[in-house]
C-alpha cells in the first residue's frame, strides 16, 4: 500500500467561489476519502426571523443566496401563504415561474462558465458568462435588480411585466438559445471537454437516492425527481416533465443543466401564452399560525423552508435546508476513488453554494 497523505483543499482555492474545506486523503494521485468542513460563513439568518416581521423577512430570505435569490424569497412566501391560507392570484404565479426560470437559466450559465474555467477552457467560460450577462439584463429590466430581485412578496408579486415586454423578452431569449445551443454543443461534443467530464465522479442511481442527492446531481444519476413535478406556483399547468440523464458522471450532470436551459425557455413561453390580466397580490390579513414545510426546485435542487408560527408577527422558527447542504454527502462519495486533478471538476458539478448552505 502506498503512503497516505492528507491534502487540504480550500477554503481558498482558485475553483471555489465560496469557502468549503475538504481534507483529501490520497494515495499517490488517487483520492481515498474526503472529509468536509464548513462553517466559515455561517450568518445565522434563520435566527434573524425571531426579530424581523414576517412580511419583511422575505428580503432576508432573498439574501440567503446571490444566485437563486428569487426562488429563496418565493419559497419563503409560499410557506407564509400556506400558514395565512392565502390564495396567490394566477398572474402572480405565472410571473413567479418566469422569474424562477430566468434565475435557473442564469444560474446554469454561470455554472457552465465556472466549470469551463475549472478545466481550463477560458474562452468557453467567457462565452457562457457573456450570455448570462444578457439574461441578467432582462432581470434588471423587469425587476430593477440583477442579483436581488425584490419582486416577490407574501401574497403575490410587487411588479408586473407588460405583454409587449414579455414578447420582447421571448424574442431575446430565443436568440440567446441559439448561442447557448452553440456552446452546449462544445460542452457535450468537444473531445477535450468530454475527456475531463465523462466517467468522472460517478454516482449510481442507488447511491444518489440513499445519500439524499437533489437537483441535477440526482437527475444526472437517472432519478426523475424534481419538486416542480408537485405543481407548486402553477407548474402543474405548464406540462412539466423533469430532465433525466442516466450515466451518473460529471458529463451527465452537465448535460442535465444544458437541457434544462431549453426547458426553462419552454416553460417561460408557455407562461406567456397562458397568462391573462389580473391582480398581482392577495391581501395579507392577520398573522401566520401553525407549521408548514414549503418545497421548491432551485437551480441546484430541492430547497426546504420549514416555518413554525404562533399567530404573532414574528415566526418561532424558520429552517432552511438548501440543495448544496443535501448534496455534500453524495459529493464525498463521488470524490472517493477519483484522481486528484479531477477534484475541482467534481466539486463544481454539485454547483456548490456555500453561503446558501450555511445561511
Amino acid at each position: 500500500m502506498s503512503k497516505r497523505t492528507i491534502i487540504p483543499f480550500g477554503p481558498q482555492h482558485p475553483v471555489l467561489p465560496e469557502p468549503i474545506h475538504l481534507d483529501l486523503v490520497i494515495e499517490d494521485e488517487k483520492v481515498i476519502e474526503a472529509i468536509p468542513s464548513i462553517g466559515f460563513i455561517h450568518r445565522g439568518l434563520e435566527k434573524l426571523v425571531e426579530k424581523k416581521d414576517f412580511i419583511d423577512y422575505v428580503f432576508v430570505a432573498e439574501r440567503i443566496c446571490g444566485i437563486c435569490s428569487f426562488i429563496h424569497g418565493m419559497t419563503y412566501c409560499i410557506a407564509m401563504e400556506e400558514l395565512l391560507k392565502l390564495e396567490v392570484p394566477s398572474r402572480a404565479q405565472y410571473l413567479r415561474v418566469i422569474w424562477s426560470e430566468l434565475s435557473r437559466i442564469h444560474s446554469h450559465l454561470l455554472w457552465l462558465g465556472l466549470t469551463a474555467d475549472a478545466f481550463g477552457f477560458e474562452n468557453l467560460f467567457m462565452q457562457s458568462w457573456q450570455i448570462r450577462e444578457q439574461i441578467l439584463d432582462i432581470i434588471e429590466e423587469t425587476t430593477g435588480g440583477r442579483v436581488i430581485f425584490g419582486s416577490c412578496k407574501v401574497g403575490g408579486v410587487r411588479r408586473d411585466i407588460s405583454a409587449e415586454k414579455l414578447q420582447e423578452i421571448l424574442k431575446k431569449l430565443r436568440s440567446y438559445r441559439n448561442q447557448w445551443t452553440e456552446i452546449g454543443g462544445i460542452f457535450l461534443n468537444d473531445t477535450t471537454v468530454k475527456h475531463r467530464l465523462q466517467g468522472v465522479g460517478k454516482l449510481s442511481m442507488e447511491q444518489a437516492k440513499t445519500l439524499g442527492a437533489v437537483g441535477p446531481m440526482l437527475r444526472g444519476s437517472g432519478v426523475a425527481m424534481d419538486i416542480r413535478m408537485t405543481g407548486y406556483s402553477g407548474y402543474n399547468k405548464l406540462g412539466f416533465t423533469p430532465v433525466v440523464e442516466t450515466a451518473g458522471d460529471c458529463y451527465s450532470r452537465c448535460k442535465v443543466r444544458i437541457r434544462e436551459l431549453d426547458q426553462s425557455l419552454q416553460l417561460i413561453e408557455t407562461c406567456v401564452t397562458q397568462m391573462t390580466e389580473g391582480p398581482l397580490e392577495a391581501k395579507v390579513v392577520g398573522f401566520p399560525n401553525g407549521e408548514f414545510f414549503a418545497r421548491s426546485e432551485q437551480p441546484r435542487g430541492e430547497a426546504i423552508y420549514y416555518a413554525k408560527a404562533n399567530g404573532t408577527k414574528f415566526l418561532q422558527r424558520l429552517r432552511v435546508r438548501t440543495p448544496t447542504f443535501a448534496n455534500l454527502p453524495p459529493l464525498l462519495t463521488a470524490l472517493a476513488g477519483c484522481q486528484l486533478a479531477d477534484v475541482p471538476v467534481i466539486v463544481l458539478t454539485i454547483d456548490p453554494c456555500i453561503s446558501c448552505a450555511e445561511r
Binding site: H42, K47, K209, L211, G212, T230, F292, E302, K308, E358
Partner: protein, 121 residues
Amino acid sequence: MAQQIIDIQISELLERAKEMQAQGQRLVQICCTTLSETLELQYSFDLDFAYTSFRITLPKEGGAVPSISSIFLCAFLYENEIHDLFGVKITGIAVDFQGKFYRTATPRAFNPEAVTGEVKA
C-alpha cells in the same frame, strides 16, 4: 403536497428510521426548533412527494438522541449542525466533528439558555 407530522418517543426513532429506509424513503432533512420550555426535533422523509415528519420533544438542556447516520449516512451533516447550534447531544454520529462543524462566535447560538447553563457551570 401531502404532509404529515407524527409525534414519536426517542426510543422509537431508530425503528422508525429503519422502516423508512425499508420503504425506500429519502431523508429530506432534520430540523431542531427551540420552544419556550423544550426543543423539538423533526426528521423528514419523502417518497414520491408524500412528506412525512417524525417529531421528538426534548428538554432544553441535557437532551440526547441516538444518531440515525448508521441507517441514513447523510444524516451526519444535520446531526452535527444540531449539536453545534442547539447543544443537543447526539450519540454515535458516523462522522462526528466534535462541535467543530460550525465556527460560530456564540456556542449553541440557537439555544441560548443552554449556553447560560454552561457558563454558570
